[in-house]
Amino acid sequence: MSTKQEDIDVSVWRGDPHSGNYENFKVPAQESQTILDVISWIQQNQDATLSYRFACRVGMCGSCAMMVNGIPRWTCRTHLNKVLNGNKLVVAPLRNLPVIKDLVTDMDPFFDKWIAAEGLHHPSKTRLDPIEEIEPKSIGRVEIDTGIECINCSICYAACDTVTNNSDYLGPAALQRAWTVYNDVKDADKQTVLDAVSGDGGCLNCHSQGSCSVHCPNDLNPMNAIAGLKRATVASLFSRKG
């Protein structure tokens, strides 16, 4: 970027759960500037009431995701140059989640579904037992490794149109987590996981749109994990009958 300061035209969605519209700001361009920096600059210098959420600022906490020029992104690690469309930037709250205010969404539905998908460990041992020997190259572990570094940023959830169209759908992140639980040799209750993900809002609703995998900032592949769940679900149907 040139050293002379140019202004960027930023449209920011403002509003509450009931109504809202875009407001325009001019923000001086800087070297090494992220979308989060742009938003913070507006709040600190132009409109003190602008609301947004962040915590870690290094792509670990998954609280800062927003729609940036129509694409869900982690704003703390999105460099302005990467997304600038001419001189324009449009920032809106994440899709598919209720808005609290301005750029802040209520992430509870996302986490409720995480739990509804049984995306949690079901212990088979206690703190008094030694740590289990598990080879890192074992099949289950290799599968888990492809999905475990999820930061629950909800970007995939915002990208998925099935989530938009079907309010019961558990969504890519929750299902991916369920898949990792299902593959964990330490987990004591895989049937519960399978039951949770094969019901009405479960993995069978996924149409393999792939937006989850395309937009995941950590290059995870929920689509693949969901396919795994579909297989397991179908397999268990036949094995139970047979």
Binding site: G70, I71, P72, S211, M223, A227, G228, R231
Partner: protein
């Protein structure tokens, strides 16, 4: 306009599959109706079959075959994705499916001309 988060081959494959499936579901009853004509009025069927020689109908036919081909290969792609633990890039498969669909349809098209 396709919204930005949808601009990638996997989503396009999805929407193509959905549209083709839907259109097929709408078209097929007409096709059936046409065939059933044979039951009572074989002449009108013949009349229709010759009518299909006109270019515009040929194009429509091409479209329908294309739909079927697209849906067919798209469906196989989906089931491959779902049933086989997948290794190679999904996108290539999607593109391949559409390309093959085109191929079959075009061959058919060339044949009928």
């Amino acid at each position: 306009m396709i919204r930005p988060h949808r601009k990638h081959s996997l989503w396009l494959a999805y929407i193509l599959h959905r549209i083709s499936g839907f259109c097929l579901a709408v078209f097929l009853p007409f096709h059936f109706y046409l065939l059933a004509l044979a039951l009572t009025e074989p002449d009108r069927l013949d009349g229709f079959l010759s009518w299909t020689d006109t270019p515009i109908v040929k194009l429509a036919e091409f479209g329908l075959v294309f739909l079927l081909a697209v849906h067919f290969f798209g469906g196989l792609r989906l089931m491959a994705l779902e049933f086989f633990p997948w290794s190679t890039s999904q996108k290539t498969l999607a593109a391949l499916a559409i390309a093959s669909a085109f191929l079959v349809a075009t061959i058919f098209f060339l044949q009928v001309i």
